[in-house]
Amino acid sequence: MKLIDIIRFAGKAATGYPTRTVLMLLAMAIGVGSVVVLSALGEGARRYVIGEFSALGTNLLIVLPGRSETVGGAPPLLGITPRDLTIADAMALRTSSAIRYIAPISVGAAPVSRAGRERETTILGSTADLYPLRQLEMAAGRFLPPGDPERGEAICVLGHTLKEELFGSAPALGETLRIGDYRYRIIGVLSEKGQSVGLDMSDIVVVPVASAQALFNNPALFRVMIEARDRDAIERARKAVVRIIKERHDGEDDITVITQDAVLATFDRIFAALTLTVAGIAAISLAVAGILIMNVMLIAVSQRTSEVGLLKALGTPGRRIVTLFLAESAILSLIGAALGLVIAALAIWVMSLIFPQFPIAAPLWSLAAAVGVALFTGLVFGVLPARRAARLDPVLSLSRR
């Protein structure tokens, strides 16, 4: 018997009994659909977090004051009181050839007011390097000019939302803004660009780092952000940072350097594991579908005993009958799996309409795995009914009508 004929015969048998076929397809479709949808959610979560973290920039290193044993963890709250990170520390890093940009960062909150409107706003002190490092874009004017970071000019750059709130559609360039007790001239407005981990860059005022330190009366930096020259330079940059700061802090190793790569890799691993777990749980529903397939095929065999008897009378060996019934479960599983993929695609599409900012997407492996597992369960649970069919006594099968 030719393969194509086996498939055709089994396909006809599979579609010849609509109710049981629909039942079985539904079970398979739900199983496959839930595997794909759940892994798509997991994958979406992974992409979301990775995306957020990548939006910080590329090839980043973050220098935090304080020593932490676990890379990627938060700075310790206990232990030795670390020495402050200062602007001078940050600028000393310029000697490393592995480093492209250095943006010392000082963060605080202060009341920002203009023409009677006042509100508490995040103030970010930094340097001109922050602009390329964070891949910012200007809506108007320019960013902080390069120059001596120790000099605090009374200039500022507004985030997009903040500008809208304070000025509406009126131009803000050249206007002055009161931050705390000081007046600042607005030299630029950032363009509308999404936020990234921790900091919404649209609801913010950027001032020179020295100005921020004066404003908060605190010479310590919140952190230093560094962009390595390229991917390969990240490790060299990290070593340089540790060495230079250690030298400057009298041999004390009191900073933590987080590399963006390491954090990304960690998130990646966590979310990949999470996705696998939920997909695995969903796969249990495929096993349930498999048991249903077995039931349905057992019914099919008992409904078709005289057909089996006939096939034997026509010279079909038992092995071939097993093949025919297995092909039937395989075909049903595959159609069910295909239906499941359609259901999953629909569900994913609907979710992407409801949550447009969530990057939900079914990973390719989950499609292959779902279909593979569906086929596998179909075959495994099809074996028992198929063997039962093959063992039927043709004389008895044919004596019934």
Binding site: S306, L310, L314, G315
Partner: protein, 232 residues
């Protein structure tokens, strides 16, 4: 061509043993037209099933065309059924989801014949059995006589040497029964060995050789010598 020696077949029902075939000896020559009659339960169907390799005797030997087939494997027996033996049943046993043409095509599909050859043979068979305009009909859209003609077409499509019919007219009215008998006899005239089990004395008497069975044994046998009566 069919040589049964001391064929015994027993069935155990509960704690009773029913002897369906009691050491049957029977030789059937190539091209014979044989009818088997006898009361219900006398072992006619069992004998036919043993001859058709659907049932294995408990003892005795069966030579088919000189070859001992009693102990062949399932696979080899299946192959013999595929190529040498055709069955016609009282209840037709057509596959309900397949059309007339597809039912006729089935043995060739099972034998792995290629599609083009199958199509021409099916077309030929349909017209030979007067079913050309019923090719795409499913069994439930056919009359009893038409169903049995489809079944005969299916049984003979592989050009077997032996055609076994168990009460082929048992489920048909007189007229379509006559039709079916004509077809079977015509096949016999063309050389096929025809063995018919029947309750109908009129049909039984038409055969060139007639045996009657009683209680699992051959009671009377008109013998091979008798020439078949003239056709209708």
């Amino acid at each position: 061509m069919i040589d049964l020696k001391d064929i015994r077949r027993e069935f155990v029902v509960g704690d009773e043993t029913v002897i369906a075939l009691r050491d049957v000896d029977l030789q059937i020559g190539s091209g014979e037209y044989l009818s088997i009659m006898g009361p219900s339960g006398s072992g006619k169907s069992t004998l036919l099933n043993v001859i058709g390799l659907l049932d294995r005797p408990d003892s005795g030997e069966y030579l088919l065309e000189g070859e001992s087939v009693t102990t062949l494997s399932d696979k080899r027996q299946a192959a013999l059924r595929r190529h040498k033996i055709g069955f016609v049943f009282q209840f037709f046993h057509l596959i309900p989801r397949l059309s007339a043409a597809e039912n006729i095509e089935l043995p060739m599909i099972l034998a792995g014949m290629d599609g083009a050859r199958r199509k021409t043979r099916v077309t030929e068979a349909l017209s030979a059995f007067g079913l050309s305009d019923r090719a795409r009909h499913r069994p439930d859209q056919l009359s009893g006589g038409q169903r049995q003609r489809v079944a005969i077409a299916r049984a003979t499509i592989m050009e077997p040497h032996i055609l076994l019919a168990d009460e082929p007219t048992g489920n048909l009215d007189r007229h379509s029964g006559q039709d079916v008998v004509d077809i079977l006899e015509d096949l016999n005239h063309h050389g096929i060995t025809l063995i018919v089990v029947t309750h109908d004395p009129d049909l039984g008497l038409r055969a060139g050789r007639r045996i009657t069975m009683v209680d699992g044994a051959v009671a009377t046998d008109t013998g091979t010598a008798q020439s078949p009566p003239a056709g209708p």
